[in-house]
Amino acid sequence: MAASILFDAPGPKTVVRHRLYSLLTIAALAALFGFLLWRLYQKEQFTYEKWEAFVTPGYIEALIFNGLLVTLQMAFTAVIAAVLFGVVFGLGKLSDHGFVRWPCWAVVEFFRAVPVLLMMIFIFGVYGITRGDSGAYWSVVFALIVYNGAVLAEVFRAGILAVPKGQAEAAYAIGMRKTQVNMLILLPQAVKIMLPAIISQCVVALKDTSLGFAVAAPGLTNVGEAIYLEENNQIPTVMVLAAIYITVNLLLTWIATWVQKKFVGEKKLEVPMVGDATTEELPK
């Protein structure tokens, strides 16, 4: 811990003191968790009946096939379409023509600022409500596409701006046209810088698929709801659902970190927040 800016490397006395604090913390946390576990035990949350669903093959199958796989499918469909959306509007925001740039800016700002759930409820109201399960499914996917697409547009824009200026200048100097510079020089390099951000966006999309709960869309949360309504085992169900989401998200995060190390290095992409004044600057 010598490398912390907040405190010096501790001396022998401080080490002993810190060890004491550490023990006290462990004791306090153990007491807290002990109390929680005891409370759960008291309320009969650890009985076989409460957990039976999660050792029954039928339920496990439902969790995996109707739950996890559908959720993953929704998230990846949304992210892939969102990448396209992001490329179009990200490049649009960098356009030299005001009549392209400003509408793109407005679309991106709007979809980034509007809550996904509000979007989802609206799309469900106009499109999904009469189409049953697939209507709910696509309402969730569409809402995720426009939201994540707007976020990714900002990521793309930041990624393209992060490519050293000399690259584009050199390309223009050897006589490339604007489209060529974008497609052959800037985008390929930008994608490399953006990959980790895109994978991280998968985590966001995956978590947001659970918002489908609001419109009774299929997916992991929906299966979980069905299970706890039938078995009345809310606590075990929440624990299992959370564990599944956390595992998948940690895997994705791990992949993102690996890609960052492998392809990008230390450089982190800076994406401005919604309503950030810097997003309104004219491209140079």
Binding site: A3, S4, I5, L6, F7, D8, P10, H18, Y21, S22, L23, T25, I26, L29, L36, R39, K43, Q45, E109, F110, A113, V114, P115, V116, L117, L118, M119, I121, F122, G125, V126, V203, L206, K207, D208, T209, S210, L211, F213, A214, T221, G224, E225, Y228, Q234, I235, T237, V238, L241, A242, Y245, I246, N249, L250, T253, M273, V274, G275, D276, A277
Partner: protein, 227 residues
Amino acid sequence: MDAVLDNRDLVVDAFTHTVLLFLLAGVMSLLLGTLLAAMRVGPVRSMRVFAAGYVTLVRNTPLVIVFIFFRYAAPKAGFNFNYVDIVWGDVRMNTFFAAAVAALTFYTASFVCEAIRSGVNAVPLGQAEAARAVGLPFGGTMTQVILPQAFRATVPPLASVQIALLKNTTVAGVFGVTEAAARLKIFTNDYATERLQLFLIFALVFVILVEILSFFAHRLERRWRIA
């Protein structure tokens, strides 16, 4: 337009709930998040491990699951907010509202912790070394050199987190709080022909709220910027 104009009270009421959820959960998540961040960057190992574990677990759990936990699961173990029932004009802060605030607070706190940690990490190590080298004691190093810089670096990510919180308050609408999203859902059922206008009006209010937040964040950032 009629749907909104005729029901102005309901719309104002819905957004009052939204803003209240945001303010309460915002302040509480900042407090809890700061506490977690202090544990996360502090010298005591078990505190660091605990805060890191909390952040990893909560950040990777969907907000809806956190809501289901506070709304449906925790009461089964006897943890509920039944004692909360504050009625204040048309605003009703009941057990659902309290569960929503709790869910938003615990969820957002993990992001606040990460934002603050990234702010602290943004201060170069040389700053602390230089401060110690010129003989500043621990308190001086902290208050004169490190914290002012860390605090400034923390403003933009914290603002992003709070903007996300504002948008996340809509999830409370699914769990029994009549805030903006829930009100929109009721309206779209009752006034099916005006769905588009309704959505645009509600969305616009959110855009305005977000812009206000980011305006203040920018002013803070600019005011505290070192030349």
